[in-house]
């Protein structure tokens, strides 16, 4: 059964190769992304609750699916489907998008360090290609950032293998020098686009890179901070500080420039700050917020992009729903995840964090309402045409998801979030779990 996991990598690679000679590639991409999402959904029905699915090759756990990787994989597949539907006409970028999708799945599912290192480097390569395929030149800053991420991840992971004399992640769980931890986590922080490594993500205008790489980066931070390194209080404090500074700084710059990219940095900061609290409730809030961002971000990007050349009530409604979800207004999904984060703050009486988190959230609220005021409520009714259907479908799917997740919080938490929280709260017990499956 575990061989099914290889599909997440092989299917997009095959699709990328298959679409090269095709002229109309868009729908192949849509079908591939929809297939991967269906596969991820199907796995929820067969993967035992809280249990692992491990694909072994010669006793080496090449690919591992647990609650956390399953959640992130589902999110990336969803983001890919939305991107595929929206960019159905952008023929040139599609092979690279599929390449990115395969490598992102590889990083998420990797059960051993060589695989992880390989897919991480390929993911960075795919990022560069996808960005350039959109007609954008990679500047020195972005190139250096991608190179730095590659260097940090490769160096850090190689050092881990040398120190532990093993490649399977569950066998590498032990105490490492601070430098090794810092290298690996900084590499993933760069991918996540967290302050101070945020600039390259700001300059990259491709929504799939936003969604997939940012999510993979956060996944890496979660996996290594909790399950591999088992960071202590000081380590978690660093995560909280990075998260809160991203939230406040990203929010302020986003407010000044009405820039969605900085809004994403701020929202990523919320996830990281909550994760740094490290309690089950805080992790639930962090992971729920991560899932919400996967839905909200595309809605904001695509609706904002569409607003430049179309108008109409559908677009206005989607913009309103997207920005209200971003502002954490009920009944939309963003509200509930932040609610859990605030409960966790109160539970742990983390007042310094609260003192920064709440103003940060108010800045995001102010930004969201300001954008709505300017783009929806005060906008002059123009004669732009209504939204075209594949793009309109993406907006509707995302908006409905914002509402449905908000209204079905219980189910989402039970089936998607809780298994991921359990995977993280197990900490370095992750090793025993994988070893148990391998036996």
């Amino acid at each position: 059964m575990a061989i099914i996991l290889t599909g997440f990598i092989l299917v997009p690679v095959a699709a990328a190769l298959l679409c090269l000679p095709l002229k109309r590639r868009g729908w192949l991409f849509v079908a591939t992304a929809a297939g991967l999402l269906s596969l991820a959904a199907y796995l929820y029905t067969i993967r035992p609750f809280n249990n692992l699915l491990v694909f072994q090759y010669h006793d080496v756990p090449l690919l591992v699916l647990d609650g956390l990787s399953h959640l992130v994989l589902t999110g990336v597949a969803l983001a890919a489907l939305l991107y595929a539907l929206y960019s159905v006409d952008e023929e040139r970028a599609i092979p690279y998008a599929l390449y990115l999708l395969a490598t992102a799945a590889g990083v998420i599912l990797a059960g051993e360090l060589v695989t992880l290192m390989l897919f991480s480097l390929l993911l960075l390569d795919a990022c560069g290609h996808l960005a350039m395929a959109g007609g954008k030149k990679i500047g020195l800053g972005e190139g250096l950032s991608l190179g730095l991420a590659a260097g940090l991840l490769a160096g850090g992971l190689a050092a881990m293998m040398l120190i532990s004399h093993a490649t399977a992640i569950h066998l590498t769980i032990r105490t490492y020098p601070l430098l090794v931890k810092a290298m690996v986590l900084s590499g993933f922080t760069l991918l996540a686009g967290v302050l101070p490594f945020h600039r390259w993500l700001v300059k990259t205008s491709n929504p799939l890179i936003y969604a997939a790489v940012n999510t993979v980066g956060l996944y890496g931070i979660f996996r290594f901070a909790f399950n591999v390194f088992g960071l202590g209080r000081s380590g978690m404090l660093v995560l909280t500080v990075l998260g809160l500074s991203s939230l406040v700084y990203g929010g302020l710059v986003a407010f000044a420039r009405r820039d969605l990219a900085y809004n994403n940095i701020a929202q990523t900061g919320v996830v990281l700050a909550a994760a740094g609290l490290a309690s089950p409730l805080a992790l639930m809030g962090a992971l729920f917020h991560l899932l919400n961002l996967i839905v909200i971000k595309p809605l904001l990007v695509y609706a904002g992009d569409t607003a430049d050349r179309a108008s109409g009530p559908l677009l206005s409604s989607c913009l309103v729903i997207g920005w209200l979800a971003n502002a954490a207004i009920p009944p939309f999904n963003g509200f509930w995840s932040l609610h859990y984060v605030l409960l966790a703050l109160a539970q742990q009486k983390a007042w310094p964090s609260a003192l920064l988190l709440i103003p940060g959230l108010v800045i995001i609220l102010a930004l969201s309402l300001k954008v709505l005021k300017e783009k929806v409520f005060s906008a002059e009714p123009g004669g732009a045409p209504p939204v075209r259907w594949p793009q309109g479908t993406v907006l509707v799917i995302s908006a409905v998801l914002c509402l449905l997740i908000g209204l079905n919080t219980g189910a989402v938490v039970t089936y998607l979030i809780n298994p991921a929280v359990i995977a993280l709260t197990n900490g370095t017990g992750y090793a025993r779990m994988i070893a148990g499956v391998l036996l």
Partner: protein
């Protein structure tokens, strides 16, 4: 499903249908609001529960819901005529029903989690409803949701603290004493959200802003009625069910001080307004102060007064906003200096406005007097525990006097005096617009004359196990004495003055002045207050929005955001 479920579901379904069948939106809203009113009446029979959303109905929240449903129904009737020209009519009615459903949920829920859902939905409905208004609406809507949303975040943190202290997300049964820094923090954080919704200073500034932008029926329904009902109801639940407020305690002192400040600042702000709707919006702020003061006493009589005042305020404040809307509808303006002489042209609107104005000013035998009287008694009783009691009592009584003064100005400027260019051709509005305020004015009289037999008996007193109201208040006797006094005054006037009245043209510098130049508008009645030494300075500072917390934070945010943006640019340019 229990009735409580239908109370929430039916308006939501009607709202959804209204968005699809926009031409039938008004009729759907009317039917849903009527259903809500009937359901509210049925709920008065006893306690009901719907465990799905942890909803529980008892006398107090059922009474509040009944008033909310009544005012929603009247607002829909009023809007059918008033808002015929509104472009987004389908959305307007849908949001109105969303507000009603959310209000029901917020009033009946017994758990924080669901409270936040319904509470947030109310804020959303308010934001969207204000957004349906005119040119200034988007800015007003933005300000409203930023204040409400921001304070809700603090409230959520407070709820988290209560949960961490008690292990329960349910209201009731905890009665935490506010005697440690942690419980005080939880109490204040929870209050912040309720204060913002109710419009307690310094979180009030969204109400005057909304008055400038929102359609008038929206003001009559939400800031005047539903938001106050839910906001003050939550303050009462926080103070009664979640925490234990002892008279003379720090928590009590905080509430009394904030309440008194809100009364005085609100009413002084109202005195100086030149716009009818803005004047009323400042009174909407000021009246909340009475409720907060009543709750702050921590004594049953004060609490009963506060809760009764909550009901009364919704009734007369909505009536006054309806009257303002009718005036605007007929004259095209709400600027007081452009009004005058409408009493004869709009007699029914005038009657409603007069009764509501007297009620809000606490003139016996109307409902506002009874609730204020109970609050005063609470403040006198609290004197045993609180040495500042006289300060709070003075603020409350002075506030009442200033309220009357402010409404004398309003009534004179709008209804009495001479006609203006705008009012010369005005005429009475049609029945959907005069009926709602007149009905509510009638309710002011009924709730005043039969205060103990009706509202206090059915809505308020069942909440208190033991409540002894000191002193004697006989509304019948008071009414006879009041009207006797008025008749005597009229008689003396007729006997002494009427035949000696002479009319002469006015002169200035030897020239006869045209009649229109000597018109007394009433608009600048109290402008001299601005010249009083200490008050003048405060008013000048207030005009620069120094006391508007939102504006100050906005300034700070703009500066910080600009700084962050410059830093970001500078760093990456050098890189």
């Amino acid at each position: 499903m229990p009735l409580l479920a239908y109370i929430i579901i039916v308006p939501l379904i009607a709202a959804g249908l209204g968005l699809i069948f926009r031409r039938a939106a008004g009729a759907l809203a009317l039917a849903a609001a009527f259903f809500a009113l009937v359901a509210g009446c049925l709920l008065m029979g006893g306690r009901q529960a719907w465990p799905a959303f942890s909803l529980l109905a008892y006398s107090l929240n059922s009474g509040a819901y009944l008033i909310a449903a009544l005012i929603t129904l009247l607002t829909v009737i009023y809007s059918l005529k008033y808002l015929t020209q509104l472009k987004r009519l389908g959305e307007y009615y849908a949001y109105l029903l969303l507000a009603l459903a959310a209000t029901a949920g917020a009033l009946f829920t017994n758990e924080f989690l669901f409270l936040f859902l319904f509470w947030g939905l109310m804020g959303l409905a308010l934001y969207l409803l204000i957004g349906t208004g005119g040119e200034r609406a988007p800015a007003a809507a933005q300000k409203t949701l930023i204040i409400l949303g921001g304070s809700d975040l603090l409230m959520a943190l407070g709820a988290g603290l209560v949960w961490s202290l008690t292990g329960s997300m349910e209201f009731g049964g905890t009665a935490l004493p506010v005697n440690t820094p942690l419980t005080l923090a939880a109490f204040l954080l929870l209050l912040t959200g309720a204060f913002a919704k109710a419009g307690v200073m310094p979180l009030h500034s969204w109400i005057p802003a909304a008055a400038e932008g929102a359609p008038t029926p929206v003001m009559a329904l939400l800031p005047a009625a539903l938001d106050k009902l839910v906001g003050v109801y939550l303050i009462a639940r926080i103070s009664l069910d979640i925490f234990m407020i002892q008279p003379g305690s720090l928590a009590s002192l905080i509430l009394l001080a904030l309440g008194s400040f809100t009364i005085m600042a609100g009413v002084l702000g109202a005195l100086l307004q030149h716009d009818l709707k803005k004047l009323l919006s400042f009174h909407a702020v000021s009246q909340v102060g009475y409720m907060v003061v009543g709750i702050g006493t921590g004594l049953p009589v004060g609490l009963a007064g506060a809760l009764f005042h909550l009901f009364n305020n919704a009734i007369y404040k909505s009536a006054l906003f309806f009257c303002a809307g009718s005036i605007e509808h007929r004259t095209g303006t709400t600027e007081l200096k452009k009004l005058g002489g409408l009493a004869g042209k709009m007699p029914l609107t005038f009657a409603a406005a007069l009764i509501a104005a007297l009620a809000i000013s606490g003139v016996p035998p109307l409902n506002g007097f009874v609730s204020k009287w109970l609050i005063y008694q609470g403040l006198i009783e609290v004197g045993q525990f609180d040495r500042f009691w006289l300060v709070w009592l003075t603020a409350a009584m002075l506030g009442s006097a200033f309220t009357l003064a402010s409404f004398v100005k309003l009534l004179h400027a709008a209804f009495l005096g001479q006609w203006s260019e705008n009012t010369a051709k005005a005429r009475e509005v049609s029945w959907p617009m005069w009926f709602p305020p007149l009905f509510l004015a009638g309710l002011c009289v009924v709730f005043g004359l039969f205060a103990y037999q009706l509202p206090l008996r059915y809505f308020i007193l069942p909440v208190f196990i033991r409540l002894v109201v000191p002193g004697v208040w006989d509304p019948g006797l008071a009414t006879i004495m009041l009207f006797g006094g008025l008749l005597l005054g009229l008689l003396l006037y007729l006997l002494g003055n009427v035949r000696q009245t002479v009319t002469r043209p006015a002169f200035y510098g030897g020239e006869e002045l045209p009649e229109e130049t000597i018109k007394v508008t009433g608009d600048d009645f109290y402008d001299t207050v601005k010249r009083l030494a200490p008050l003048g300075l405060i008013f000048r500072v207030a005009e620069r929005k120094v006391f508007d917390l939102y504006e100050q934070l906005k300034l700070a945010l703009d500066s910080l955001a600009d700084l962050a943006s410059r830093i970001e640019g500078a760093i990456w340019r050098s890189f």
